[in-house]
Symmetry: C2
Subunit: 534 residues, 2 copies
């Protein structure tokens, strides 16, 4: 071992160990030098989907789950859901639902809901253009997507401002760089400097060239979703048959709560389902505003709204991969503003997990917060959200990195901070060994009451990998930290983001596919893109 490496306790400066520098010690028994190249911005965990090892937290009893299911079935059968899409109503009518004559209201027999819901797979994969980035949705697997759809962007240099393509691309690069981000969800920031008619073309081009992870399409009108599917097909070098044979991408739709599915979302979801692509259905059920003020009532309504769309998608194509989305939270009853990362948000997410498992569906939830800047409030709200998605066994974590202000801004620094805590969640899910070697009684006997564990073979054989090593936390003592400028978390996160962006190299993409993508974008732009009156 490196003789200079003793164990120092708090109060002893150690200026030789800057936070982001990889370990420089030789690994005993290998003889190799594990020193990493200085061009690596940070030491991060490898690409790996998170497998949750704890039991889910279940605030509802079995009877409670059945009571919410019963309420959801009453909502679906007695009250009904408005479908503002003629084709959707036709599909549902053909499938046996009761469509109000001349109206938009659809009522569902509970037996029909169960029959169609049962067609949905409880676990499936999505394969992007780089098959090594295939993700599994379902079971005990949890995958993370970047923050989606904020209109604003912020970083420490420029403050808060409307999103641009430059910011959009930077956030794509971070999403590609961090292994704890498993898929690309909606635009990490809305690039409002791109005209809405062609924005989706440039954005998809950027996504498919700057990243090789699973892609998302917005369900905002016919052209956008069709263009997105076509571009994903081109980037993957797939025939139409290959594209439709297995999930390659996904969309997320929101109901217009209470009790309504709008045309653009339905239309996009139906097009995706028809070609076998994944749809996440996420009701926008803020308790006290668009849903009952009681959590049980809000989750019953969320469940009903989600199942209504899921039945439609299963009617269109049995076996369509779908995800039940939970976005239920409370509103601040003083201001009406949505709140996130609250105790109620946690419980709603866990209850949603119970309902999703009851129907055999994967769950989507979010790493959300209400704070206006990446300070302590943002951190505790996001930490509470992360414990919610962890304990709920959410399969798809939307907005996993970068979200601030209830989703109104994408923060560069928050993105990096969230990746730190996402990595910690991954480390938390490492199984704990209890072999004879792990129990270490021999090592304890060897050290005895006068000794120290750092020097013994048991420690030396394990110390490099025994503990999770954060890339963002500063664990130096106060004096060292203060002498080096007392740099706080957001400033450290900013420096890391800049280093990552400076070093970023896009993933490989065959030149012919890149050209085909560019040609497609050029052609569709020449045709005028998509209508902007959605």
């Amino acid at each position: 071992m490196a003789a200079a490496q003793g164990v120092r306790l708090a109060g002893t400066p150690n200026k030789d160990a800057p936070m982001t520098e990889p370990l420089r010690r030789k690994r005993g028994g290998r003889g190799g030098n594990t020193r990493r190249s200085d061009t690596r911005a940070i030491q991060q965990l490898p690409w790996e989907m998170l497998e949750l090892i704890d039991r889910p937290t279940e605030p509802l009893s079995e009877e409670g789950v059945r009571a919410i299911d019963g309420a959801a079935m009453r909502i679906l059968s007695e009250i009904g859901i408005d479908f503002l899409h003629e084709g959707a109503r036709a599909h549902l009518k053909a499938a046996g639902a009761e469509v109000e004559p001349g109206g938009v209201r659809v009522r569902f027999d509970p037996a029909m809901v169960r029959e169609f819901t049962a067609r949905a797979p409880s676990r499936f994969t999505i394969t992007p253009r780089n098959p090594e980035r295939t993700v599994t949705i379902g079971g005990r697997i949890q995958v993370n997507g970047n923050v989606a759809s904020p209109p604003n962007y912020s970083d420490l240099e420029g403050g808060r401002r409307p999103g641009t393509r430059a910011a959009f691309r930077d956030l794509l690069r971070l999403s590609q760089y961090f292994n704890c981000i498993h898929l690309m969800s909606g635009y990490p920031v809305e690039p409002v400097d791109l005209h809405a008619s062609v924005r989706h073309l440039d954005c998809l081009y950027d996504k498919l060239t700057l990243t090789d992870k699973v892609c998302h399409a917005y369900s905002l009108g016919v052209e956008r979703v069709e263009d997105a599917m076509e571009m994903v097909r081109i980037a993957g070098g797939l025939t139409e048959e290959e594209f439709a044979a297995t999930p390659r991408m996904f969309t997320n739709i929101n109901s217009s709560s209470p009790l309504k599915h709008d045309w653009p979302m339905l239309d996009g979801a139906m097009r995706m389902a028809a070609r076998g692509q994944m749809v996440s259905v996420t009701p926008f059920t803020l308790a006290g505003a668009m849903a009952p003020v009681t959590l049980a009532g809000a989750i019953a309504q969320q469940t009903a709204e989600a199942l209504a769309a899921i039945v439609l998608l299963q009617a269109i194509r049995p076996g369509t991969p779908v995800v039940m989305g939970s976005f239920t939270s409370n509103v601040d009853m003083k201001s009406g503003a949505p709140a996130f990362g609250t105790p109620e948000y946690m419980r709603a997410t866990q209850m949603s997990g119970q309902m999703a498992r009851f129907y055999g569906l994967p769950l989507r939830a979010s790493n959300a917060c209400a704070a206006n800047c990446p300070d302590a409030q943002a951190a505790w709200e996001s930490a509470f959200s992360l414990w919610a998605v962890q304990s709920a066994h959410a399969n798809l974590v939307y907005h996993a990195a970068g979200w601030l202000e209830g989703g109104l801004v994408a923060s560069l620094e928050k993105f990096v901070m969230d990746c730190e805590t996402l990595q910690q969640m991954a480390a938390y899910n490492r199984p704990i060994g209890v072999t004879e070697e792990d129990l270490a009684v021999e090592a304890i006997a060897e050290v005895g009451p006068q000794g120290h564990f750092f020097g013994v073979a048991h420690t030396q054989a394990r110390y490099e990998t025994a503990f999770y090593a954060p890339f963002l936390s500063d664990w130096r003592n106060f004096e060292t930290w203060a002498e080096s400028g007392a740099v706080r978390t957001p400033e450290r996160a900013n420096a890391i983001a800049r280093k990552i962006l400076a070093e970023f190299e896009p993933p490989a993409l065959a030149e012919d596919r890149r050209e085909a993508l560019a040609d497609f974008v050029a052609r569709r732009k020449a045709e005028g893109g998509a209508p902007t009156d959605f």
Copy 2:
């Protein structure tokens, strides 16, 4: 209802609802005005012990628990523990332990460990001078104590500096004020401007006059612990028999890991046990430094060290209320500094919970972090620690509010921030209703697809109490927050602390008891206090 109160979504300023102002609406059905006096610094939750409603998280299988128990028994029987106290060794020898002739090493037969450990109650109460502040230790109850023993204090006005009696008193006032702080543990900051020989007298006087919650005594030599017990007896107006009849206070001792119990801690614990007072035994088992680098090994050693002292205390007085303490965390293997709020800390705490329940003992753990300032890192580390104590079913949460820098500083702002998250943990543990009324199908039918829930009776009857209302989080939209100065969490926490301190009124204490306490302090000071060479 107040007609002006519509629901506003994010993006709409609401300047009429400053964060710390209580709700001003009339409560429907009561007719009374619930407006609170403006002299109330914040709206906080009532005094109430937390009852945990989730199952504990159990990273170890049943076999894993037995394996760690087996390793602990091997440590106790084969390796042994050093007891640097002749009286302790004599007690243990009389109880059947094997004391090394002429030495300090004590070995324990596993059957003897089980027999004596079984004498400890799994649940008990501690009654302070105000019986309304009685706390329960054990079962599913969780109680919180203030940060204990940092040498330094920090606030935004004065920065970081050595602790003083003035800072000590301010932190006592906050500990008394916040209902989520259930008991007073060690000094919230070490008042180094008081001479060490008499510090305990002034500190206990301050504690017993500025607060009426359960008190702690340091086990740092004969005089300190005896003086503390006497002062608690005087403040409670108790006879010696009454004092010794039921737990009135507590001490916490740490083993000098690895495998050693030192004289001052043992002596204090033995004196407390002899008079029926509670002792928490917390080994200082940082994995990789004073304990094995493997979590299973560190917890085995922690368990052995804790049980060794618990056997001693049960030998001295069967039924002595004891708590098994967990402080196991990892060290930063780059610098040797202890880390807290890490994935390993969480798992170690949960494993400790499993071991404590295996032996039928209450568990102590901590709300710890390593960060140097109350920023995002501090918040996520503390949030992770809080989820550790929650999911481990810790009964006594040490350092629940105010801890920073691995315990080297007590932060005024962090204290208030922690109380916010402690309140959120309490709200998280409210049971969730699933009655017909909670399911709200009628309200959903009433609102229908075009409506909004704020106006309906179902919401109006519940909105004031439906959701937890934070006192520190700022949920206003960005524009309003920015216009009002973009005040961040620590600055908001500081303002709240100052308001609380300005309004603070000490709890009632009969004048004769106060005088008796003052007389005792004066007499003991005249006698010279306590030796300072411990």
